[in-house]
Symmetry: C2
Subunit: 492 residues, 2 copies
């Protein structure tokens, strides 16, 4: 089975593409850089979105919707913001097509040129803060705790499905606060929400930290992040939460009267995760047989495959038993499918659901029923057990939780073993070129050194972990004094 | 209260705008034609979306996501399709900005011009059918039952919040079938889903029908629709379901091998409803005091307003009772808020929740508690009753259903009284200019007559109702023979 998949060892990058395409998650579209998210991939995104949305609402946020387009001049209002996004903007310049007078279909109507070009949003700080100006007069209007689920576009020449595409889906929270302290607390709170989501639902251990100035979001005072580790030893930024200070409030002149009637600029945060998380999910857990889905967000948690023989009566018994199991599992809120499609054989189905990463497979044959058992296979460990039909739904329900926990533990062990403390440049380079992973090293705190290291090794500072231990040391490249280790890695 | 709202009689159009803006549903953005959907409006849309999404899934559909952009040449592949949409296309021509060498911010980088311009999707038939070509080889791949929730852009010069905006949110179902019969059955099934949603959730009676050739979707063989009536006597198309024949399959060369290995073109449908439904909801139910929300989709179903006096002990008792009620109502799945904000007075709150259309308001004062009652007000009829606190949650739960039913019945009575059979041109014109509503009249079946009537009266044929009675008659304009009445109206 699955012998048409590339293995991780053979070609990690091709293995990833195989899983996305053959696993039915997504494919490239005819539009350069844009992907089609297929039903199975979108069902995964829906599950992730629903959990996150609930967590946002439980922390007091509401959803809203802001325009897809941003006037070009708005982008320029915050200097470092436009610097960060100008090179990847899709620009709308016209609003009408017309018939080509020379025949040959339609052409852009030159008379329908916009006075000011519109940018397809790469992120929405500017359009949202221009809107908040109308919403905020006094401290009574604060805080504003708003989130948006949306598509955004950042033009990319080299794209990879989920990891880097011109258009992607995401959520972007944009909050407004009366004080700096409150805004920072919000930034940290949302980072915690992301970390909790990654660990409890995606079974993905993450390191919480702060970005260096080089890696900060364009327009932020501080960017907090969660960093995850992929099986090839490369890091992946899985979510960011930005403390924006008063930068956007100043750019869009958003002030409020405080309780003492002093007029102040408003404090801001923004935070987002995207369909990129699906890429992280795949690369953290999957194996050479295909995807491995964490049960809590798996589109399908259990599949029941009948093993028919030629006996019609036996077949009926299997169907009846399967129907009963489906009913019982659904009553427990478990997403289950009975695949009784006659056009494919059980072996083909086994491989197919392995490829798709369905956490639990139940096979039901005539002999099994006679013995009052079913064969239960778990995807994470690829083990099978013959399990009594009595109490099978409880067994499966517990097994799903066990798989979730096991996936997390495996990923955590791997991640922890992939953090290497190094104190010399030789070790630094050999670790990166060898086992990879996070390299905890001293750094002199300058952007120049950071740039030089990136140039020499392709490794970047993924983050300065929160609650980092203070420790005197010498920068791994320059030997200049340092007070703490930071985490370097090559990254997606 | 609400004396700052325009009344319907004064200026219906201004009344509508007032409700959208002051009711906190949406506002115009700085981007021409694009709206900001505010949290209260978006919560309404979320409720509508969640119900519809469930109905789609129960009828076997899955969600997916297709690119925002469509290559210009794709749009042209189906001749009538491009004809219908060319004049309202937002066109992306460049993919990068750069610093203005003359200073003054950023300009579009002329060197970053796309080889082929991209259209921001006005609807997705073309990009989806170009994708389906890769998904469909044999009858085993059919049917494909896919839906997408997305933003679309149709450039508009004159816009109205929710009713007509350049960007709007919608869902678009796109299905592929092996036979014509199956595709037509799907088209009709989804029309029924829309009608059921409108009637059971929006409390909006609709007429199911078929569009004339003039009013058909660009690229469809037949457009089915649901038509609703607004309080000013104008009709509003609330949803459409299109039988697309083999038009898009031919345009994108999508064929399949049937069971006998004959190669055939695939049959298609598409169907959609949009944030326009929110406009319909407002205009069908609201009154001069503000919005009136149908309970089943109201963002907030019940608000509890405390009437405090200066007695701290009494205040505590009110707060305790309110907390208990909130808990009990939430346990029944009811969306409830206790508004104990001290900065506004009860009278202001009453007006505010009336404006926002919250179906049920509970006022709790010290005297009420002593008498073991609460004052329960219903928004639809603007009546108040003193109700025992014993069993109040059951009472409120039933009241919400009663309000839902009452709103539907009122709208149905109004709609039924607004269908006028006319047999002469004089009656036709005087009905349109007088009471408005639907005019059931004979029509000779020609596009010329339809165009002429539209030009003379601004009335269009809203639909030929399904299961229409056959009746011999004479066209109301030309006197030519006709076999059935059709429904004319002025429309949004």
């Amino acid at each position: 089975m699955a012998d048409n998949l590339t293995s991780r060892k053979q070609d990690y990058s091709q293995w990833y593409n195989d899983l996305v395409l053959k696993g039915g998650l997504a494919e490239h579209s005819d539009v350069r850089g844009c992907m089609v998210i297929k039903p199975y991939g979108f069902a995964l995104w829906e599950n992730m979105r629903d959990v996150l949305d609930k967590m946002f609402k439980e922390t007091g946020h509401q959803n809203a919707y802001f325009p897809l387009f941003i006037p070009k001049s708005y982008l320029s209002k915050e200097a470092s913001h436009v610097e960060g996004f100008a090179k990847e903007c899709a620009v709308v310049t016209h609003y009408r097509l017309k018939n080509d007078p020379n025949g040959g279909g339609v052409i852009v109507d030159p008379e329908a040129k916009l006075e000011e070009e519109l940018i397809v949003r790469p992120t929405s700080e500017t359009i949202i803060w221009s809107t908040y100006k109308g919403w905020i007069q006094s401290y009574r209007d604060l805080p504003i705790l708003v989130n948006q689920w949306a598509n955004v576009v950042r033009w990319e020449m080299r794209t990879r499905l989920f990891l880097r595409t011109a258009e992607f889906l995401w959520q972007e929270g944009h909050t407004a606060h009366a004080t700096k302290e409150e805004a920072i607390a919000e930034t940290v709170q949302m980072l915690d929400v992301y970390a909790q989501f990654a660990e409890e639902y995606m079974a993905l251990p993450v390191i919480k930290g702060v970005k260096t100035a080089n890696e900060r979001f364009a327009g932020a005072e501080d960017t907090y992040c969660i960093e995850a580790l992929m099986q090839d030893g490369k890091a992946l930024q899985a979510g960011t939460s930005h403390f924006l200070g008063q930068n956007f409030a100043k750019a869009f002149d958003v002030k409020f009267a405080d309780k003492n009637n002093n007029i102040e600029y408003v404090w801001a945060t923004s935070w987002g995760v995207s369909t990129r998380l699906i890429g992280a999910l795949i690369m953290a857990h999957s194996d050479d047989e295909g995807l491995v889905m964490p049960p809590r967000i798996a589109p399908l948690q259990v599949v029941i495959v009948p093993i028919y023989n030629k006996d019609a009566e036996a077949r009926q018994k299997i169907d009846d038993k399967a129907a009963q199991l489906v009913k019982e599992l659904r009553a427990k809120g478990i997403r289950v499918k009975f695949d009784n499609d006659d056009t494919t054989r059980p072996g083909w189905k086994f491989a197919e659901y392995e490829l798709r990463g369905v956490p639990v497979r139940i096979a039901l044959g005539a002999r099994d029923l006679e013995n009052n058992v079913a064969e239960v296979a778990r995807r994470d460990e690829k083990t099978k057990t013959s399990t009594s039909l009595d109490g099978l739904t409880d067994y499966v329900s517990n097994l799903l939780e066990e798989i979730q926990q096991n996936m997390y533990n495996k990923a955590l062990t791997f991640r922890n073993e992939s953090i290497t403390k190094v104190d010399s440049w030789e070790e630094f380079v050999s670790t990166l070129d060898g086992k990879g992973g996070f390299v905890a090293a001293h750094w002199d705190g300058t952007a120049e050194t950071e740039d030089k290291i990136k140039e020499m090794t392709k490794a970047t500072i993924r983050c300065i972990p929160l609650n980092n231990e203070q420790e005197a040391g010498k920068c791994v490249l320059t030997g200049n004094p340092s007070t703490q280790r930071v985490l370097f890695a090559r990254a997606y």
